[in-house]
């Protein structure tokens, strides 16, 4: 009976062969996928044991890790001024992370390839490995001004400030915010998880970064884009167009004050911007056509897909309109136009920077644990939206918005400095209007460009949003 025994032993070997093949498959080929499987929480548990780098604003550490102590190998993430920076920094929790904590995770936890040499050196010298420090472009005063302004109103909203020359994000605040410390505890994990669940469920959506990820109808601030399109297509600030009391666009489109813009006569482009005339700007949009309007919007960054700065930024929308009625309304930032506050800040920054829109960025530099710089921001041109001449014309027109005889946004004025701005009061499908203000200053040497939106403020952009924008601009200029 040796033959069947031989066959049986071959079968037994085959069983082992199957096991070997399967284990090889799991550990060699499928391992990567399994490690990254959403059910796999091993990475997160491990991440609590790594000494993450700090996140800095200027010289201040706004997020840092400190040892839990005792028997634990874990580190507790601590947030200074947590609520102020939460919309940017995010929160690092057992299980996941948001904001910069997530976007720059590979630097912070030290796993980024450019840190390999440093990690190896630490291993040799026996030093405890530590992730890299990330320094943000945020200006602490500007951020503070944004928070105070929006909090004082008590409305949901957002403010974004850019350095027009580089694209550095100087402020990005979203109201309401939250305290990341309340969700980051590694010792009281149940409470932390519960707090997070509450935040996720909260009606005011404190976890939503309204500055980067919420689209609003931009309202009259979009008239800057319309005016830019007109100037680029041969018009001058003095070019006029009909500006009646109402325009019949399917439903009548009135002006904000219920009268014609230039006593019934055709109104100039410059004056229309200064007083924020609806009917003339709608006429400009219709005259320019959907194609030209869309091209100009896209040059400023609309319809360009999602962006990473490195926080994810939601795309702003400016669809191609063929129906003149809808095209007219989109010329004043209504209809199907939707923009994030960052997008409108980019419009202001583009005008401020002689027509070049710089790509926004939030991370100034990354330094390893030996304080050597491993990464630093390289400002780059995002797009050339308009010619320098157009930019100069628009700047003049926008100064009129804050300083003109019939200025619609005088509350943005800063003594001794020319401020270029544009108000916006956007009709919404539900509830009171959204109130906008976009601006930059000083007009002759722009250091900061701002967009502020107050959700359902119910007032005008000039009264609600402009003062906040002014505070932010002052914070940057007076530094």
């Amino acid at each position: 009976m040796n033959k069947p025994i031989r066959r049986l032993s071959i079968f037994a070997l085959a069983l082992f062969g199957v096991l070997l093949l399967n284990v090889s498959y799991i550990q060699a080929f499928a391992a990567e996928d399994l490690r990254e499987h959403p059910f796999n929480r091993r990475q997160f548990a491990e991440s609590l044991n790594t000494h993450r780098g700090s996140i800095r604003v200027g010289s201040q550490e706004v997020a840092y890790s400190e040892p839990v102590g005792g028997d634990s190998d874990q580190y507790q993430r601590v947030y200074e001024n947590g609520q102020l920076y939460a919309p940017v920094v995010g929160a690092f929790r057992a299980g996941s992370a948001t904001g910069i904590e997530a976007a720059e995770n590979s630097f912070l936890d030290g796993s980024h390839e450019s840190l390999a040499v440093n990690n190896f050196r630490d291993m040799l010298t026996g030093e405890e490995p530590k992730g890299a420090d990330v320094t943000l472009t945020i200006n602490a005063d500007a951020q503070q001004a944004a928070m105070e302004g929006l909090e004082a109103l008590g409305k949901n909203g957002a403010a974004v400030a850019l350095d027009p020359a580089t694209g550095a994000v100087l402020a990005s605040y979203s109201n309401p915010s939250y305290d990341p410390n309340s969700v980051a505890s590694v010792t009281e994990t149940d409470q932390a998880a519960e707090n997070w669940t509450d935040l996720e469920a909260a009606e005011q959506q404190p976890l939503l970064n309204r500055g980067l990820n919420q689209r609003y109808p931009p309202g009259s601030t979009f008239k800057i884009v319309t005016a830019a399109a007109a100037l680029e297509n041969g018009a001058s600030p003095d070019s006029t167009i009909d500006a009646p009391e109402t325009l019949d666009l399917g439903a009548p489109l009135p002006n904000a004050w219920g009268g014609p813009c230039n006593n019934g006569a055709p109104d100039s482009l410059a004056h229309s911007i200064e007083i924020s005339c609806n009917t003339s700007m709608a006429n400009w949009a219709i005259q320019l056509g959907g194609q030209a309007m869309q091209e100009q919007a896209e040059a400023f960054g609309f319809n360009q897909g999602d962006m990473e700065i490195p926080l994810p930024v939601t795309e702003s929308l400016s669809p191609l309109e063929t129906d003149p009625n809808i095209l007219g309304r989109s010329g004043i930032g209504q209809a199907n136009i939707e923009a994030t506050p960052l997008q409108m800040a980019m419009v202001a920054a583009g005008v401020a920077n002689d027509g070049d829109v710089m790509k926004p960025y939030l991370v100034e530099s990354v330094r390893n644990s030996n304080l050597e710089e491993v990464d630093s921001a390289q400002p780059e041109v995002y797009s050339t939206a308009i010619s320098p001449g157009t930019a100069a014309d628009l700047t003049e027109m926008m100064i009129g918005v804050t300083a003109g005889d019939e200025a619609s946004g005088p509350t943005a004025q800063i003594p001794g400095i020319d401020v270029a701005g544009k108000t916006g009061t956007a009709e919404t499908a539900s509830g009171p209007t959204h109130n906008w203000f976009i601006s930059f200053a000083p007009a002759d040497d722009p250091q900061v460009a701002v967009a502020v939106v107050v959700e359902h403020g119910g007032g005008s952009g000039g009264t609600l949003a402009a003062p906040i924008a002014r505070e932010i601009m002052e914070a940057v200029i007076n530094e």
Partner: protein, 457 residues
């Protein structure tokens, strides 16, 4: 070889101790002395009482047993979590097992004497298998397969399977001609498809089948033992008869029965779903856990153990995290059948291959003993036991690595548990005794000596 196995065990403990606690394990000398001493004693015992036995069997068994102790030590003592496992218990059980091992080598000079009592063995096996159904039995993790003696609990099925192999060997040696030759041929046209045994000869198969299905699966929820016993039965009947038809009939009947009882045995159904859809969220988590996005389902859900085991293996990758460097605690019940994933995580593919190779070598040496033996009973017995080891390994590791549904049994020698360890050592003792007898040179005839002297100048 044995020394090498001991050294490897101690090295494993040292590494685990250094990685976990940054110190040499304080109990190293105790463990090293006890385990090493036992293994060396066993070695000399073999030298003396079974000098011709296969020299590879003891080192392989020592290595696997030692790795098991080291891993249990790492899981238990090194983390201070003694609820999970105690290596000391395992060490004491090892000692007890080795005593039994020595006893078998010493007292059972001729394993063929077992052939005399096939029916006693059969009754014994059935008795052992059914013991957990009596009031003595207790249920752990949904399977009723333990017997509680107060001070310790045993899994009688571990011993029943050995008794069953003895019975089958004895029975089939006497009945093999009938089982092999009497047949009806089934032909399609001129082509012979199968030799079907006569109806009445299928009785043992039917009994075995009925027993495995009804008692084990339905009454006791012990899928692993059922699968193992039936597989071994099929292997042995094939060895006895050389007829593929038995295997075809057996497999058809077994899987047919599985399909038939599938809707009625919830335990069985759960295992199948867990196997096929391990990564489905509702299998991985419980419903309450799913409703709460913040819960990580680390301990709930049916496929939790399987999936966490796979994650552990993936974490280990090719070379592993190093002993003590992994997080085997993620896998529920890691000290039992899932100890394999702990090895996979900390020793990596390389370490697992060594372990599988050691087991495969053990099996193949056993098969070699079957080939080398002259008596039919011993051939049946040795190949039966070898296949049992192989199949048990396959069922357990295959279950853990999602080749087949998880059944819940233990890897020979490695996992925590007294019954499994003891039965593994019993199997090795039997194999060694048989190999000693098979390889022992035949006693030289006196006449030949005389003849030699005549030729001598």
């Amino acid at each position: 070889m044995t020394l090498f196995a001991i050294a490897l065990t101690l090295y494993a403990m040292i590494e685990a101790g250094l990685t976990r606690n940054n110190e040499m394990p304080p109990s190293l000398f105790l463990y090293g002395g006890l385990f090493g001493g036992l293994a060396i004693l066993a070695h000399f015992f073999i030298r003396f009482f079974a000098p011709w036995s296969d020299p590879l069997l003891l080192p392989l068994a020592t290595l696997l047993n030692g790795l098991g102790i080291a891993m249990l030590w790492r899981l238990g003592e090194a983390t201070g979590d003694t609820s999970r496992a105690s290596a000391m218990d395992q060490l004491i059980l090892t000692a007890a097992s080795m005593v039994v091992f020595a006893g078998i080598i010493y007292f059972l000079k001729e394993p063929r004497t077992l052939q005399r009592y096939p029916y006693i063995m059969a009754v014994g096996a059935v008795f052992l298998l059914l013991l957990p159904l009596t009031p003595l039995g207790s249920e752990i993790n949904g399977a009723r397969q333990w017997v509680n003696f107060g001070f310790t609990s045993l899994q009688p099925s571990e011993f029943a399977k050995i008794a069953l192999v003895v019975f089958l060997s004895g029975y089939m040696v006497t009945k093999r001609d009938v089982l092999a030759l009497a047949s009806r041929q089934i032909k399609i046209g001129p082509v012979k498809v199968l030799d079907l045994p006569r109806m009445r000869d299928t009785a043992p198969m039917a009994v075995m089948w009925g027993f495995c299905i009804i008692v084990l699966v339905i009454l006791m929820n012990d899928l692993g033992t059922s699968l193992m016993l039936f597989g071994t039965f099929l292997a042995m009947i094939y060895v006895a008869t050389q007829r593929g038809s038995w295997i075809v009939i057996g497999l058809t009947a077994f899987f047919g029965a599985c399909a038939a009882i599938y809707p009625f045995v919830p335990h069985f159904r759960v295992r199948m779903v867990t196997w096929l859809d391990a990564f489905r969220p509702d299998v991985f988590c419980t419903d309450e856990a799913l409703a709460n996005p913040e819960s990580f389902c680390v301990t709930s859900g049916n496929s939790q153990q399987l999936v966490q085991g796979l994650f552990a293996l993936a974490e280990g990758g090719m070379t592993g995290t190093g002993l003590g460097g992994g997080q085997p605690g993620y896998v529920p019940e890691v000290q039992n059948d899932f100890i394999f994933t702990a090895f996979g995580e900390e020793l990596g593919l390389a370490g697992i291959m060594v372990m599988l190779m050691a087991l495969a070598l053990l099996v193949e040496r056993g098969m070699r003993i079957a080939l080398a033996s002259k008596e039919l009973f011993i051939k049946m017995f040795a190949s039966g036991i070898s296949f049992l080891i192989a199949f048990q390994t396959f069922v357990v590791i295959g279950g853990v690595t999602r080749v087949i549904p998880m059944t819940g049994a233990t890897i020979p020698f490695v996992a925590k548990g007294g019954s499994a360890l003891l039965s593994s050592w019993i199997m090795v003792a039997l194999l060694m005794r048989m190999s000693n007898n098979a390889r022992k040179p035949a006693p030289q005839a006196i006449q030949d000596e005389g003849a030699t002297q005549v030729i001598q100048r």
